[in-house]
Amino acid sequence: MNTTFWRKFRRNKGAVAGLVFLVLIVVLAALAPVIAPNSPWDMVQRPFLPPLGAPGFWFGTDTMGRDIWSDLAYGARVSLLIGLVSTLAGVVFGTGIGAFAGFYGGWVDNALMRFTELFQAVPSFAMAIVLVAIFQPSVVSIVIAIAVVSWPPIARLVRGEFLTLRNRDFVHAAKLGGESNLRIMFTQILPNAAAPIIVMGSLMVATAILLESSLSFMGLGDPNVMSWGYMIGAGRTSLREAWWVSLFPGVAILLTVLALNLIGEGLSDGLNMRIDGRRRA
């Protein structure tokens, strides 16, 4: 992350705005117990209190009299945590598959890529639903389900990078130097493929947050944590009487995902990538 990177990143105004907003959300999530006056589960006011309906209740209360502002703050934790951890898991797995496929080529490549295509052929949301439903909703099962459906693009990307990089001189040099294949793959080639992985990873966090919220909305969220998707689902039955219950968490998801996508574009500018991960000519 050098100065050229920052100069290019800063030139993208959307990316800067996205970064600022994301920092705000991270602060909100980290300081939720301080910023949010109430527990996300406690009934603290009358139900269906409209926004600004009582002092201190800017966003109103939901169907059970819970403070929506507190729910939003605690929900940010879940969205960010699940988005980040599931992406990390997906990136690690996808990178492993892609690295072996690209480095060894031949039948290894063929087998691993058929395996990857299989996962790409299945609609990811339907698959995530089935996985979470079968293994019972919890933060862990949600993270695993999102990781399982999101790794294939990373695998394909890493494979492509490894296919071109494996014939470079520095790889031959390392081979002559007697380094093991594993060592070459992960200490020589992988760092050179880091830029597109980072860009795609940042976009994957956005997708993961959307997926998590969709699962929670379908009633497949972890019952022990407050999440934005759950809030929208819970407000759905009283949409006519209390639109604000569903409106605000949706706006929160939209802005967070938008911020992450904008940051992804900024990263790709800064790292001289095209948005689809290919290196700019």
Binding site: G14, E117, L118, Q120, A121, V122, P123, S124, F125, A126, M127, I129, V130, L131, A133, I134, F135, Q136, A206, L210, S213, S214, F217, M218, G219, L220, G229, I232, R236, L239, R240, W243, S246, L247, P249, G250, I253, L254, L255, V257, L258, N261, L262, I275
Partner: protein, 324 residues
């Protein structure tokens, strides 16, 4: 002849994929916490040991695992997806009933997303750098980040509840007694909101893709040649730039078409659209795992079928593409 051979190979691949999904399905129900028979029977059935024992015998759950797997795959191959114990009916016929609604919804949304997405993208690339371009780009960024189910709720709130322009619930007006043309119009009215919401996200994707791709093609030498020949800008845009720029868009559309079937689950849930997605949601709520896995298999089959069809379209659009 070559195309037929290609088609056969693609269909064979698709069948293989579905077979693997069936195997995964089989393993999932056994990987679930608890006894597979009671899982299949749902929670209510589990409380009755005699019923569970009957199930175990009927599905051969006392036999070795490989035998069970073969039996299961054999059933799936004959389109027998088991029983839904909650609804007391075969899963396959429950799904068959819902299939048309899902197809109508996803196909309408797909065609709308592709048509409007490409048009907007082309328009915005032609006006690159102007405020109109920024407007299209900004809106595609926003729609690309919008949770579908939330947009669906807000659409219901605005257009059905507040403005009362369009129905936001179901497939047709229940008990209206409409027939013929009147019924068709009624269904179309019900289709507008769900199809639009489902289309909007993908429209944003295609608009962005078309714009980027067209700006790239516009830099190429053959476009300069076309200009030098004195062709009109409109003709260059349509015949030369757009045609070449469409290829990556169609590739993406093929992949996205499958994802759209998944997105339809959310849309059908919000709009109570009686398709497979709604059935999947009902299965979730009722813990009807047999039905859940059945809908999953059919959803995957639809996605694979969409992919094969777009692949074939692709070879029709661009004769240069090798059928491999």
């Amino acid at each position: 002849m070559k195309r037929l051979e290609y088609l056969m190979r693609r269909v064979f691949q698709a069948v293989c994929i579905l077979l693997v999904i069936a195997v995964v399905n089989f393993m999932l129900i056994r990987a679930a916490p608890g006894d597979p028979a009671s899982v299949m029977a749902g929670e209510a059935g589990a409380s009755d040991p005699i019923f569970v024992a009957q199930l175990r015998e009927r599905f051969g759950l006392d036999k070795p695992l490989p035998v069970q797997l073969l039996t299961y795959v054999g059933h799936v191959a004959r389109l027998d997806l088991g029983e839904s114990y909650r609804q007391q009916r075969p899963v396959a016929s429950l799904i068959a009933e819902r299939l048309p609604a899902t197809l109508i919804l996803t196909l309408t949304a797909f065609v709308a997303a592709l048509t409007f997405g490409v048009t907007l993208g082309a328009w915005s690339s032609a006006k690159a750098g102007t405020w109109m371009d920024s407007l299209v780009t900004t809106f595609s960024m926003i729609f690309y980040a919008t949770p579908l189910f939330w947009l669906a709720l807000m659409a219901v709130l605005l257009f059905s509840v507040k403005l009362d322009w369009l129905p936001g619930f179901g497939y047709e007006t229940v008990g209206s007694g409409y027939a013929g043309m009147a019924r068709f119009i009624d269904i179309v009215k019900h289709l507008v909101l769900p199809a639009t919401v489902l289309a909007v996200f993908y429209m944003a994707v295609y608009a962005r893709m078309t714009r980027t791709s067209m700006l790239e093609v516009a830099q190429m030498d053959f476009i300069k040649t076309a200009r030098a020949k004195g062709l009109t800008p409109g003709r260059i845009l349509r015949r030369h730039i757009l045609r070449n720029a469409l290829l990556p868009v169609i590739t993406l559309a093929g992949i996205q078409a499958g994802a759209m079937v998944g997105g339809a689950v959310l849309i059908e849930t919000v709009f109570a659209w009686p398709g497979i997605g709604r059935l999947m949601f009902d299965a979730l709520v009722q813990r009807d795992y047999n039905l859940l896995l059945g809908t999953f298999l059919v959803t995957a089959a639809l996605a694979v079928a969409f992919n094969v069809v777009t692949d074939l379209l692709y070879t029709l659009v661009d004769p240069r593409i090798e059928l491999k």
